[in-house]
Symmetry: C2
Subunit: 476 residues, 2 copies
């Protein structure tokens, strides 16, 4: 507490000190009381120091194994296809969404908007009213992308006829999937609807997808996206909210073959222009690459490392390597950010999207020190970007072997969020993100940064402890 605040209290210029819930302060202020808000958080729970499971597994060793699998993973773009043909379990009456499971009733505005838009795009509804009726009818199923080896940015909606990238982690025999990035602004993944949204999606399906797919089919080894991420981290990207270098490197890699396999030169030109016009095009590729590497760590017994962080705009959810089937959730957080002209934080939906797969896989917000220029897009300062990466080393198991940060003397990025370290340090994972309008149908309103919420980490820790560290009570 500052001397000035003490003096203000003494002079009764400040009448009430508020700790915790802001609603209390706001209520008092409405009654004319002068309130000073103190920066305060409830004390962290004291958690036990978990070292071994009851089966005698060293948790440190398990976490090392999980991270080794992530690092040893490859991520190669080997081709494309339609969601219904490629994604395991995909079907016409299934809609995939970002984040942990959520019902239509609890879904946020942008997720509802994106689902309604997808139904119109698919021809299952003629207008928004029909789409809303169908979505709420119970005739459709909604499941997380993450349940189908898929990741989707923002609302993350995937419907059956959307084209997807196929990302292969050959070292572990797994594949991941992601749709193609539409660009910024009034786009489906931010919950936007309308003719321009559907027209773009149809062009992406009818021109962009076959053009790219033909080129990929002609590339005998695909395109090594993991290598492009490593290079982009040396070129000012963190590969979550800054993807200008990654997008450039992807274009360089595919362009000659695009030209060689083209059917119409004008289509090729428009495809290159579309990608060139969208510095976030690489995001969906970096997300799928992150997912492909994290899949390799799912199921490592005794590991407290996260293999999933994802948000559906209502809940923030995490999963541990040792419990890949179980979500631990907390309310999605508020994003502190920079807004597009005409919008402000009162328009913002809470944190949303699967793009936190990048932070989980050791880049994105965790590699902000590599991307000081990103602060022009998400806010903050280059010093903060540097500090953030340094802080993330406190909650991660190791440093990435293949992803390095030149400005830190080529130190590896912080990799493997250990729920134990999050609990011990009280440091929560850094997230860079876009911001969607909270109402369906509008779209992007800004971009910003925030930390993951604490309670889902507490729950995951407690569940891990209960499942793997405590002897079960015996029935006598």
């Amino acid at each position: 507490m500052t001397d000035k605040l003490l003096k203000d209290l003494f002079d009764q210029k400040v009448q009430v000190l508020n700790l915790g819930l802001d609603s209390m302060a706001a209520a008092l202020e409405q009654q004319g009381t002068v309130v000073e808000r103190l920066d305060w958080q409830p004390p962290r729970k004291i958690m036990p120091n978990l070292m071994w499971t009851k089966d005698g597994i060293s948790i440190d060793d398990a976490n090392r194994e999980a991270c080794k699998r992530i690092v040893d993973s490859g991520a190669v773009l080997v081709g494309m296809g339609l969601a219904r043909d490629m994604i395991p379990g995909m079907r016409a009456d299934l809609i995939l969404h970002a984040g942990p499971p959520v019902t239509w009733e609890r879904m946020c505005g942008p997720t509802r908007g994106a689902i309604m838009g997808a139904l119109i795009y698919e021809g299952l509804a003629r207008d928004e009213k029909e789409a809303e009726a169908l979505a709420s009818s119970g005739d459709l199923q909604f499941e997380p992308c993450h349940h189908h080896q898929t990741v989707g940015p923002m609302a993350g909606i995937v419907s059956a006829s959307m084209p997807v990238f196929i990302m292969e982690n050959a070292a572990f025999g797994v594949r991941s999937y992601a749709t193609l990035n539409e660009g910024l602004g009034k786009v489906l993944r931010y919950g936007a609807m309308g003719e321009e949204v559907y027209a773009r999606l149809h062009w992406m399906r009818d021109v962009l997808y076959p053009t790219l797919a033909r080129a990929l089919d002609a590339l005998p080894h695909g395109i090594d996206i993991k290598s492009l991420i490593a290079q982009a981290l040396h070129m000012g990207d963190e590969c979550h909210n800054r993807n200008r270098a990654g997008t450039s490197l992807f274009l360089r890699a595919i362009s000659p073959t695009l030209v060689r396999t083209q059917r119409a030169a004008e289509d090729t030109a428009r495809v290159i222009e579309f990608i060139n016009g969208n510095d976030h095009f690489f995001l969906n590729l970096s997300m799928a690459a992150g997912k492909a590497t994290l899949l390799a760590a799912e199921g490592v017994a005794g590991s407290t490392v996260l293999t999933t962080m994802a948000r559906n705009g209502t809940d923030f959810g995490i999963r541990l390597a040792s419990m890949p089937g179980e979500w631990f959730t907390a309310p999605a957080g508020e994003v502190k950010g920079l807004y597009l002209p005409g919008f402000s934080e009162k328009d913002a939906n809470p944190d949303i999207g699967d793009s936190t797969v990048t932070e989980t896989a050791g880049f994105g917000g965790f590699a902000m020190a590599a991307a000081p220029a990103i602060t022009q897009f998400v806010g903050g300062s280059p010093e903060m970007a540097l500090h953030t990466t340094l802080e993330m080393y406190e909650i991660t198991q190791t440093e990435h072997r293949d992803f390095t940060i030149p400005a830190l003397g080529f130190r590896g990025t912080p990799l493997g969020i250990d729920v134990r370290r999050v609990m011990e340090s009280g440091i929560l994972p850094q997230i860079n993100t876009g911001i969607a309008h909270r109402l369906p149908g509008i779209g992007m309103v800004g971009a910003g940064i925030l930390r993951a919420p604490q309670t889902c980490f507490e729950e995951a820790f407690t569940a891990f402890q209960k499942n793997f560290c405590e002897e079960k009570e015996k029935n006598t």
Copy 2:
């Protein structure tokens, strides 16, 4: 002097301390004397504090004007053409070279090699023997690129039928020119000769040049290279020895139009592959852009700011804004660097090329803090890269308005080398550079860093003082 050295002297383990010329130490060592070399430089000359010319011009004001012109300059790639048609004063019997003027007799190996190679490329000689005879016959003229609004990396050889970029600084009504970058290794600009060198140059003239030129002709506003440099500085380039981002951004800018204006798809694919295969392709564009902006400052009366730093492999030369016609030279320095496999510093030619136009124009070595990953190519460390940029602020007039460094909180790059500040501080300009083999015909052997030599700055300062600050003695 360290305690250990004092003890060694006392014990007569060291018999002689050597200051200055290393040849003295080497001669003594040959006679079996134990010599310890001390890091020593002759004391700097005390220079007067120049503030005003004898005509009453404020030198600070003049330098501000010179830098304002550089900053206010544009640099747009507006087209291409053959050297003989585009470069003012170019003709069949003229060969342009990097750096200050130099005769055939005093030329270094790589410059001679590149001239001989150019004569074979032009069809003026059938083999190296004929080329050497013609080059030394007196029938050809050799002039600096800089005397023709042109810049050339390394040997910087330009002959009449080579294609050149046309860079326009519309704000000041001037144009600059540069050839196209061949790539690294066995290439003409590093003094290499041989069939693969000529075949590549012919393909560049016959396929690369017309393909790019058609696209540029179809772009109504050309390509804004100054803007690409500004972006590349946010993507880990310093645009002298690291041009990966610049090359990527250039490809992004031109590719759609390349496709739209193509005659044969395979040519387009090969052109994109060639540029994609050469991360230094952007260097010649960044150099021409630097030159276009510096031309605007030539002739500013009373300015002590450099408008030229250039090396011919024998001499290092500088020119001041106020004396654009006068070169001040010193022996070209030795480069400290990283070598390609099979080569070492004993193979290295002294510092060579016009590429120091980048440092003169406020990027290159002066913007190393923006490019920590460059240290993998030229040596040094990210800390050194940061420190170098900070040091260059000590010898420059101002900070660039349009070129900024994210890691320094978006501070402008150090711009406008002031010969007075160099003299006052003893800090010499930082240079990043490639290293050519010292013999003709071989090519690139490495890349590295060095500082500009001191004596040419002393001479420039003294000449400026004599010409503009001292009253002439009157004849009585």
